[in-house]
């Protein structure tokens, strides 16, 4: 009997197997053919192993970077990059994260079904990263596996349901419809950008009236952008650390500047592998989630990845990225002056969330809204990761961390609650659930009262002409 139990525990400890089983369930629920089901299950299983292999490559490049940064500046240097950190986390906490991800989808569907928040979080990649962070925070702070999965899944479902709702008022302004939402872990920063734009901006002066040369193509090639930006960072730190230290301690005698370029290349290679793994894993899981949520949730609003807003305001994309990046540099300058851990601007995060902040900021406050809103996002994604690092256990020392604003806000709330005790986490999650249901009921009631008072008034929401993607 004991050996059977041990076998189950062994299976459970292999995240690749859990991922394969989740894919299998999804494929069976979609009534795929036997051959498609087998193929998909095996692909998801192997996809996770690809991801784990990429994590090793990234880690080989990041460990010496951390040592070198420490030697050069005497403090910890952290590059926020979701793929880089999530690879490491999924190697250590993969099973729990995979189950939080899976049950988090179930909670998301249930909340969308039974409240007014009809958002179905279709951006599986960032949802997976979120579940990884939740798993670390809960388990590194003493939650048992099953407790972590239960409360983690509820937290995951709450964040993925509420986060699109925060941006939706501004999304309506951008897309002129109410049946598509934004699903990204940068949403808290993007929503803040919309608020900043509304407060300080002027919608009459749109970014789209400006004449800007659109040489953005290179910025969209993730592999190139990461290699180049990390190359610059590695070279700068290597120059400060000096050839003596680098060639003696890290490069095994290789010329220090070549070594720096090689490490940057390895970092980008690792991210490339992780992305490929994530893509394969999600390709087998998300279609089932989409199909099931469409059946169970009438009028579901799919929450989709940030590039869906990029075509609405191409100038704001560039302006938002630059403003967010400048915010990141200003934030880094402040951290250098204050002393302590330095957050180096992660270019991918500033591009994805900064560009979306620019588009949203432009919709609520024109040029000024795009610039100041995106800059606020840049500052947020510099300081928020610092608030979460202490709750990540060993992972907090990994020289990379989760980059977007939702990680910062939800990680800080969850982490702070954990420090108060496990009961505080449970209270926080249950209170949030109650607040969600009460808020939803009150809004429905208010709407009914308003409808009764002015029966002829159209709501405007029914006028959407485009069909949603999801």
């Amino acid at each position: 009997m004991n050996s059977v139990l041990n076998t189950f525990v062994d299976i459970f400890r292999e995240p690749s197997v859990i991922i394969g089983l989740i894919a299998l369930l999804g494929l069976v629920l979609q009534r795929k053919s036997l051959s498609d089901t087998l193929k998909g299950t095996i692909k998801a299983f192997v996809g996770f192993l690809v991801l784990a292999a990429g994590a090793g490559v990234v880690s080989d490049a990041l460990t010496p970077f951390g040592d070198m940064f420490q030697h050069a500046f005497g403090v910890q240097g952290v590059v926020p990059n979701n793929e880089a950190i999530v690879g490491k986390v999924l190697t250590d906490y993969g099973s729990q994260a995979a189950l939080i991800f899976f049950f988090g989808m179930v909670v998301n569907v249930l909340l969308a079904r039974f409240t007014r928040f009809k958002f179905i979080y279709m951006s599986g990649h960032v949802a997976l990263y979120l579940s990884a962070m939740i798993a670390v925070i809960l388990i590194a702070n003493g939650f048992s596996t099953w407790q972590a999965i239960l409360w983690g899944a509820l937290a995951q479902g709450l964040v993925t349901t509420v986060s699109p709702a925060l941006v939706q008022p501004w999304m309506r302004k951008v897309t002129k419809q109410d049946n598509v939402a934004l699903g990204h872990t940068g949403n808290f920063g993007i929503a803040t950008s919309g608020l900043v734009g509304k407060l300080v901006g002027d919608t009459k002066k749109s970014t789209e009236d400006l004449k800007i040369p659109k040489n953005l193509g290179f910025l969209r090639d993730t592999t190139v952008v990461i290699a180049v930006s990390m190359g610059i960072i590695y070279l700068l730190v290597t120059l400060v650390a000096g050839p003596g230290y680098v060639e003696d301690k890290l490069s095994g005698g290789q010329w220090y500047l070549l070594w720096a370029v090689m490490q940057a290349g390895k970092f980008s290679a690792g991210v490339f592998i992780i992305l490929a793994g994530v893509r394969v894993v999600l390709a087998e899981i998300i279609p089932a989630f989409k199909g099931i949520s469409e059946k169970l949730v009438p009028n579901a609003k799919p929450a989709l990845d940030v590039p869906i807003v990029f075509t609405f305001a191409p100038n704001a994309v560039l302006i938002g990225f630059l403003a967010s990046f400048v915010g990141g540099l200003i934030g880094m300058g402040i951290l250098v002056a204050v002393g302590g851990t330095i957050i180096i601007p992660g270019i991918v995060a500033h591009f994805m969330t900064g560009a979306a902040s620019g588009v949203i900021g432009n919709a609520t406050g024109g040029r000024r809204g795009a610039v100041l809103g995106a800059m606020t996002n840049g500052l947020m994604i510099t300081f928020l990761p610092l608030l979460v690092l202490p709750f990540l256990g060993d992972v907090g020392l990994a020289n990379s961390t989760f980059s977007d604003a939702d990680f910062g806000v939800s990680g800080f709330l969850l982490g702070s609650a954990v420090r108060w005790g496990h009961a505080a986490v449970i209270v926080l999650i249950l209170a949030s659930l109650v607040a969600l249901f009460v808020g939803s009921a009150l809004a429905t009631r208010r709407e009914a009262a308003r409808a009764a008072a002015e029966p002829a008034e159209p709501t405007g929401e029914a006028e959407a002409t485009q069909q949603p993607v999801g």
């Binding site: 599986g124 193509g217 893509r279 998300i286 994309v317 485009q466």
Partner: protein, 93 residues
């Protein structure tokens, strides 16, 4: 025939476009069409017969061949017309 949806990371928006193309392919009952998604740097001219990208990525698709540029990736009507036209171009409809 193979359709390929692309975006900068090949994770989110290209995947959504892919799933919508799959719905449309089923709706139009196009025979022997496979649909995949990937990041824009992984794609070469041999990767597919028809490539789908959002307008903001147009300049990164030079040299790929039959590229369909979408004005809005959340507009399913636009996508349906584009898929239909592509199927006609390649003799599948």
């Amino acid at each position: 025939m193979k359709f390929l949806a692309m975006c900068s990371t090949g994770l989110g928006s290209s995947f959504m476009v892919r799933m919508n193309i799959e719905d449309i392919v089923r709706e139009l009952q196009l025979p022997d069409v496979t649909v995949e998604h990937c990041d824009i740097s992984s794609a070469g001219p041999e990767s597919a017969d028809v490539f789908f990208v959002a307008k903001d990525l147009e300049e990164a698709t030079a040299g790929l061949g039959d590229v369909v540029v979408l004005n809005s990736i959340i507009d399913k009507d636009e996508l349906r017309e584009a898929v239909k036209a592509a199927a006609v171009r390649h003799g599948a409809l």
